[in-house]
Amino acid sequence: MLGKLQKNVMEILAGAPHQPLSRYVEWMITVVVLVNCSAVILDSVPEIHAEYKEFFHELEFWSVMFFTVEYVLRVWSLGARFTPEQGGAWKGRKGYIFSAFGLVDFFATAPHYVHIFFPGLDLRILRVLRLLRILKLSKYNTALQDLFQAVYAERRAFGSAAFLLLISTVVSASLMHFAEGHEQPEFFGSIPHAIYWSIVTITSGYGNVEPVTKAGEVIALLTGFLGVCMAAIMTGIVASAFATQLSRKKSAYLLQLRKVLEDGVVSDAERNTLKHLQTQYRLSDADVKKMVDEINTEKAALS
């Protein structure tokens, strides 16, 4: 009985698609997090703080209670993740506690209790930790995970862009130092000084310092143009990473679809898998329909 409850709670908190309650839990946590973050922002305005101090205090108390219950439930229910043969209750719990999400959940809540025991603590640190709560949302945001995945897949391209950025910063700064170090020693007196100018120029166009020599002028213009190119390269890599990821997901889904349709029968379990995969890959119904049509025409052509 307790074991069944534990398993259900785990599935609800993990957002399993066959638990209707999981959606509401997800929504509730999201709303509480958003209300909390708005409160932190509003609380920083002195007039609002003076007027609604009590209310914010109350809100903070109940939010901490809410998140504490959530955390305790998560830790408890994740004991059901692995059977004793697979490693026991604490394997799943440990996995959660030391995951990025588990740490965020902990550090977004626990400091409140520290504050109760040691009231003399710096409140600013506490407030920063409260803002951590917004990271709880990333658990529900698959787009963020997609982003990380896409960036990770193209890490080599990003690496080369970073390398290019590094080289162009150092080279342009050094050239500028050689060209204008004597003329404007307060800006280009040393290469580290000039690196600051070079980064400003690359990131925001024309730099904070006007070059006075012809050579400096040319270097500054080239550096600025390089900045435009760097922005283009970075954006281009991200765009390409997303496009590639989408096509990869589509082909993975197509493969699964082919397998399901192969025997001509679509069982309930298979339909469930496909539905799950579709939401996970965030493919639209139109996309899926197109793929099904494609496979069907292929089959018709074969037979």
Binding site: Y152, R156, A157, L164, V170, G205, T235, G236, T244, L255
Partner: protein, 309 residues
């Protein structure tokens, strides 16, 4: 007796070539790569620190010794490269100087040469301008690009889309000529100190393109319109460049995946995967920087197709 050294020397030469070129990926060539790359990074850091006056004063002797040491290492590297690159082309009728010439006049060869040799020039002519010398030393940073295959990826991607890039550059060039001439004609009379000539107007144009504002406010209506159009052009140009880069990268990824897929198809065609074939696929995967998931997906697809057909 006289056979042994002549047999050993070519073998040593071959080995050094392999280590320096990284043709065979093994521990020695990897270590060599790390040592040279580390020395280059240390050199660049030294150049940067040396430019700070107080640090330069305090540690001048150390910097000097370090530079001397670096030059020794890089000279040795250069000499060894030139000597061993005769191994690059070993076909019948190939002179040993073919590979050497190729290296000496390649970009890397020139970088290696010009980042080291000026030091010796200074010994011969002590009166040379130190700034020029330091500029040449800075060239050493480009030695790093030899070890960064991602850099080659980027160049390859750009080369494949060179038509699009050159058309974007052409657009930039044409609009630079057109717009700077126009602004000179329109505003040259009203602001002669800012637009005294077309080259000066070109400076304004490039500034506007890279930073959105050319440090100048127009005073005529026509000039205002022209400035606004230039600013929009700057955004459009950034978008075009971004799009071209994105397409280039996507095309490259697709090209590589299809090359890999073809290789997998070939390997799986006879139904047997030998150890040699496995190694070949692994090398290709490493070369293209593909993740295991990608590779598995491709392999699964090929397998599914072959079981269907």
């Amino acid at each position: 007796m006289s056979q042994a050294p002549t047999g050993r020397l070519p073998r040593i030469k071959r080995r050094i070539y392999e280590i320096l070129e990284g043709a065979v990926v093994d521990r020695a060539s990897h270590a060599c790569e790390i040592v040279i790359a580390g020395l280059v990074v240390a050199n660049v850091v030294a150049i940067i620190l040396e430019s700070v006056h107080s640090i330069h004063e305090a540690y001048e002797a150390y910097f000097h010794i370090f530079d001397l040491f670096s030059v020794m290492v890089f000279s040795l590297e250069y000499v060894l490269r030139v000597w061993t690159y005769s191994e690059k082309h070993t076909g019948p009728g190939d002179s040993p100087w073919k590979g050497r010439k190729e290296y000496v006049f390649s970009m890397f060869g020139l970088v290696d040469f010009f980042s080291t040799v000026p030091f010796y020039l200074q010994l011969l002519f002590p009166g040379a301008d130190l700034r020029v010398l330091r500029m040449f030393r800075l060239l050493r940073i480009f030695k790093l690009s030899r070890y960064n295959s991602a850099m080659e990826d980027m160049l390859e991607a750009i080369k494949a889309e060179k038509d699009s890039f050159s058309s974007a550059m052409f657009l930039l060039f044409i609009s630079c000529l057109l717009f700077s001439s126009l602004i000179y004609i329109i505003e040259g009379h009203d602001q002669p100190e800012i637009f005294p000539s077309i080259p000066a107007a070109m400076h304004w144009f490039v500034l506007t393109i890279i930073s959105g504002w050319g440090n100048v406010d127009p005073v005529t209506y026509l000039g205002t319109i022209l400035v606004i159009v230039t600013q929009i052009l700057a955004i459009a140009l950034a978008a075009i460049l971004t799009g071209v880069v994105a397409t280039a990268y996507t095309a490259q990824v697709q090209r590589r995946e299809s090359i890999y897929e073809m290789e997998v198809r070939e390997v799986l065609a006879d139904g047997v995967v030998t150890e040699e074939e496995q190694l070949k696929l692994k090398t290709l995967q490493a070369k293209y920087g593909m993740s295991n998931e990608q590779v598995d997906a491709i392999a699964n697809q090929v397998k599914a197709e072959q079981s269907n057909g």
